[in-house]
């Protein structure tokens, strides 16, 4: 064949990646709307996107939405920040100190594999129904993912780079700051990214166990009163914040560790 036929790739190239993603969301919403209009036309079981929009607007107008979002936001951000700092520090410590590694490893493995959200009621008992019990749950869910990734990052530093730097007379401190740490950065970011989803789950589940305010509390209350539009409204805010934070991380990765992408 001499004439070049149009390949499927030519058609795909007409759309930017974000356009494809947007189209996917819009068609998903459309299918959802159709199903709730014609297949499961009972708002007790499935709220339509339109009803969810209305519920969102209502929550926004009464000012209720802001209070829930602010409470959950504070719990998530405080827990996440604490977990990030502790996680990176402990990860660096156990990667460089074998005594610390052997001392802490059983606890880290144990806690990472355990669904620590189940301990939520205990923390509410200890710390009360306010934000602190939720923050602790978020910390516990996020911190081990960060520790494990940070440690793996430092340990996976290429021996070739270390030897090259040694041949130029690098000291152990220089090796750490000029090779191990930059080489571990993609792993640390991956651990932090993993922590976003885990942290959001922590906030919601901990709030379900007992709280006065927050998106988890809103979900629980809506479910109890069979208010599906409100329940979906809360869930879609969580989903949107998850998507937003993941996209922010993608930008951060492109800036901080451009060599991992090509």
């Amino acid at each position: 064949m001499s004439a070049a036929p149009k390949t499927p790739a030519d058609h795909r190239a007409r759309f930017a990646p974000w356009q494809i993603s947007l189209l996917s969301v819009v068609s998903g919403l459309f299918v959802w709307q159709m199903i709730s209009d014609y297949v499961i036309a009972n708002p007790l079981f499935l709220a339509s996107p339109y009803q969810v929009m209305k519920a969102l607007l209502h929550l926004f107008e009464t000012g209720e939405l802001w209070r829930h979002v602010a409470t959950s936001g504070v719990e998530f951000l405080a827990g996440y920040a604490i977990a990030a700092v502790i996680g990176i520090c402990v990860g660096l410590l156990i990667a460089t100190n074998s005594f610390a590694k052997n001392w802490l490893q059983p606890w880290i493995s144990g806690f990472y594999a355990t669904p620590t959200v189940a301990l939520g009621p205990l923390f509410i008992l200890w710390l009360g129904i306010g934000v602190w019990s939720k923050i602790v749950v978020v910390v516990l869910l996020v911190v081990f993912a960060v520790i494990i990734n940070t440690e793996a990052g430092i340990r996976s530093t290429s021996e070739r780079y270390l030897e090259m730097m040694r041949s130029f007379g690098a000291t152990p401190t220089q090796l750490f700051f000029k090779v191990s740490l930059p080489s571990a950065t993609p792993f640390i970011l991956a651990g932090l990214k993993l922590g976003i989803g885990r942290g959001l789950i922590g906030v919601v589940v901990a709030e379900l166990f007992g709280s006065r305010m927050g998106l988890g509390r809103l979900i629980g209350a809506s479910a109890d009163s069979f208010n599906m539009p409100e329940l979906f409204a809360a869930v879609s805010i969580l989903a949107a914040s998850g998507i937003a934070m993941n996209s922010a991380f993608a930008l951060l990765e492109a800036r901080l560790v451009p060599w991992t992408k090509d």
């Binding site: 070739r160 780079y161 090259m164 730097m165 130029f168 090779v179 930059p182 060599w259």
Partner: protein, 257 residues
């Protein structure tokens, strides 16, 4: 005078006698190539001079000073370029100076000239992933030269390149070397590469690793592609090949079994 002297150097890896009683003197400004079959200890010898391996017996002296570990009087050019992917060409090249705390504007200017010399002018701000294999090896070379070492230690630096790029890099290395005439120890398994570049070719033998023959190459410089077709060149390559042929065949059999 930066004379490099190895006296009675011996080394074992467990039961394996990798280097047996290596005696060698390399004069200032000499280009010495080390060839031999795999497992003959040529790379181990180079790494020992770099201070990356310990000696079991004997010692290596540089300017009458015993080598105890890595030092900035020796610049190592690695087989795999080992460029740090998060650093630009410039940042990779100055790494030795930076580690020594010797990086200042005038040194940076000197490094920029060095990058020009190896043919990388204008690529200072590129990242390694944006460069071809040949260009990365130029950075590898410039990085070693940047610390202005007394001796340049090169460990099969062109072995990962394709045949055409390798030919070009050999000529380029010769050109760069003519500019400064540093002492060079160059490990390779390519006999023609050794003869093309070196003033002296040390032929290594296996089990135990030792210097079999020390051959002076008196081909006029600068050498070019035509040099490789000359009868003198071909005769030298042939002679070295005959010296190591038996060893190479044995080493191939060992690797297969």
């Amino acid at each position: 005078m930066s004379k490099l002297v190895s006296k009675g150097l011996s080394k074992w890896f467990g039961d394996l006698h990798v280097l047996a009683d290596v005696d060698l003197t390399v004069e200032d400004g000499e280009f010495v190539a080390l060839v031999g079959p795999s497992g003959c200890g040529k790379t181990t010898f180079l790494r020992t001079v770099a201070g990356l391996e310990q000696t079991d017996e004997g010692a290596v002296f540089l300017s009458d000073k015993k080598i105890e570990g890595p030092g900035r009087d020796r610049g190592f050019v690695f087989q795999q370029d080992s460029l740090l992917p998060w650093r630009t060409v410039m940042e990779n090249t100055v790494v030795g100076l930076e580690l020594a705390g010797r990086l200042d504007p005038s040194e940076a200017q000197r490094v920029r000239q060095l990058l020009n010399l190896v043919g990388l002018g204008g690529f200072e701000n590129y990242y390694p992933r944006q460069l071809s294999g040949g260009m990365r090896q130029r950075v590898n070379l410039a990085r070693a030269l940047a610390i202005d070492p007394k001796v340049l230690l090169m460990d099969e630096p062109f072995s990962a390149l394709d045949a055409q790029t390798r030919e070009i890099m050999q000529t380029e290395l010769q050109r760069v070397w003519e500019e400064g005439r540093k002492t060079v120890l160059f490990v390779t398994h390519q006999i023609d590469e050794a003869v093309f570049l070196a003033d002296r070719v040390l032929v290594f033998a296996r089990r135990p690793g030792r210097i079999l023959e020390d051959i002076r190459i008196n081909l006029p410089r600068p050498r070019n592609i035509a040099t490789k077709r000359g009868p003198e060149f071909v005769a030298l390559v042939d002679r070295i090949w005959q010296l190591i042929e038996k060893d190479v065949r044995e080493s191939v059999l060992v690797e297969k079994s």
